[in-house]
């Protein structure tokens, strides 16, 4: 609960995903006003923040693919009451995890050597470039997840329903969802 506005505090984070889930979130359109009326949106890729704040609900888009994201999601988990895996990359690894067929070295070679045309070479030693984990992981493999919203991407309707359920204190009705579609 936000001490000033007396509204539940909501955040979204973006790990290894294509931002499609966040685009779907923005498809809430005018329902964003209702959401704003019901919740304090404290941190998201659309807002500016330094340190991830204490919140009631966090939606996590994307799989965990870099060392930085691993740190981030652990931090987010410590500061969140209800953590939701938001979309298939968070839930299963999805397309983001398809690099798991290859070694990290091969993946980097492909991206920075074989297919590079301008600057050829792996940017190692540059602290601004996050280190890839050996294996992309779904969020629940590294931290406890409370709810799973499947879909690539989940529709705005599903996102809205989930958030309203959580804000009303109901267990979200997620039964019958499919991976993928």
């Amino acid at each position: 609960m936000d001490s000033l506005t007396k509204k539940p505090r909501l955040a979204t984070v973006w790990l290894g995903g294509c931002s499609g889930c966040h685009m779907s979130f923005l498809d809430l359109d005018e329902r964003l006003f209702e959401l704003h009326r019901r919740a304090e949106i404290c941190a998201s890729p659309f807002t500016d923040y330094k340190d991830f704040p204490e919140v009631d609900i966090t939606l996590v888009e994307g799989a965990v693919t870099t060392a930085e994201q691993l740190e981030e999601i652990r931090h987010v988990r410590r500061r969140t009451k209800i953590l939701v895996s938001f979309g298939d990359c968070a839930v299963t690894g999805n397309v983001t995890a398809m690099r798991n067929f290859f070694s990290v070295d091969d993946v980097l070679d492909r991206a920075y050597r074989e297919t590079a045309t301008q600057i050829v070479g792996i940017p190692s030693g540059n602290p601004a470039v996050p280190r890839l984990l050996d294996r992309v992981r779904p969020v629940h493999e590294v931290v406890k997840v409370d709810y799973f919203l499947q879909g690539c991407a989940p529709s705005a309707e599903e996102i809205y329903r989930l958030l309203m359920d959580l804000l009303d204190g109901r267990t979200p009705a997620l039964a019958g969802r499919k991976f993928g579609s």
Partner: protein
């Protein structure tokens, strides 16, 4: 033929001697989940999703292989069965590479539907990411081992209905794969008549028609019923 009366999920059901619990249940409107069973070809009990509890028996039995018996009391949807089914589905998802969002069968897939029905919203097991190939050597069809659940429907329909016996399983356990003839590329198979029956009965995106994009593959196995009715009743009706 004698008629047997039994109880399935509290409902009185009748079946012919020799008929499976699975069939008797479905005819009575009780839909037991299944993946390897497909009407019109023999049953092999490969997937274990149709497991049921029978009172007085400790072991869970595959409904698609167990014949009905007089006075049997069958449960198809207990907590224990739901837990087993969920785990079986998780094993299937973890064992191969199912990336539904980029699959030809996205939205039409029997495995996807079974997972949704079972309320499977995440897989607790670690995904294995086996390196598997896609055989696109056939001029009209493709076989993507990443999506195969080894249900063997393709093998049975090709053998029993088409009479070609192109497919078989090679290897054991997690290393099993579907092969054409003696393991050659499908396009070089001498037995395949290119009838497409295997493609139509495959429950997943493993067998597909070429040229289909994500979520574009549709399967139609009405031909099976037509052929089986024609064979058994000598009636050529759709």
């Amino acid at each position: 033929m004698s008629v047997k009366t039994l109880t399935i999920d509290g409902k009185m059901v009748t079946g012919m001697a020799g008929e499976t619990i699975f069939n008797a249940a479905w005819e009575a409107g009780i839909r037991i989940p299944r993946l390897c069973h497909v009407g019109g070809v023999s049953d092999v009990g490969a997937c274990r999703l149709c497991l049921v509890e029978i009172e007085g028996q400790k072991k869970l039995l595959a409904a698609c292989l167990t014949p009905v018996e007089e006075g049997m009391v069958v449960h198809t949807n207990t907590e224990r069965l739901r837990a087993h089914r969920r785990l079986i589905l998780e094993l299937l998802f973890a064992e191969r590479n199912h990336v539904c969002s980029v699959c030809v069968m996205n939205g039409q897939c029997e495995l996807q539907d079974l997972a949704a029905e079972a309320g499977l919203d995440h897989v607790r097991l670690r995904y294995q990411f086996p390196k598997l190939g896609v055989d696109t050597s056939h001029e009209r069809f493709g076989l993507d081992h990443n999506r195969c659940v080894l249900c063997t429907r393709c093998i049975r329909v090709c053998d029993e209905v088409e009479g070609a016996h192109t497919w078989d399983v090679s290897g054991r356990g997690a290393r099993s794969v579907i092969i054409a003839d003696m393991g050659e590329p499908w396009g070089q198979s001498e037995s395949c008549t290119s009838c497409g029956k295997c493609v139509q009965v495959c429950p997943t995106g493993a067998l597909f028609s070429k040229g289909r994009g994500v979520g574009e593959m549709r399967k139609d196995r009405r031909f099976l019923k037509y052929i089986v009715t024609a064979r058994e009743k000598h009636q050529w009706i759709r």
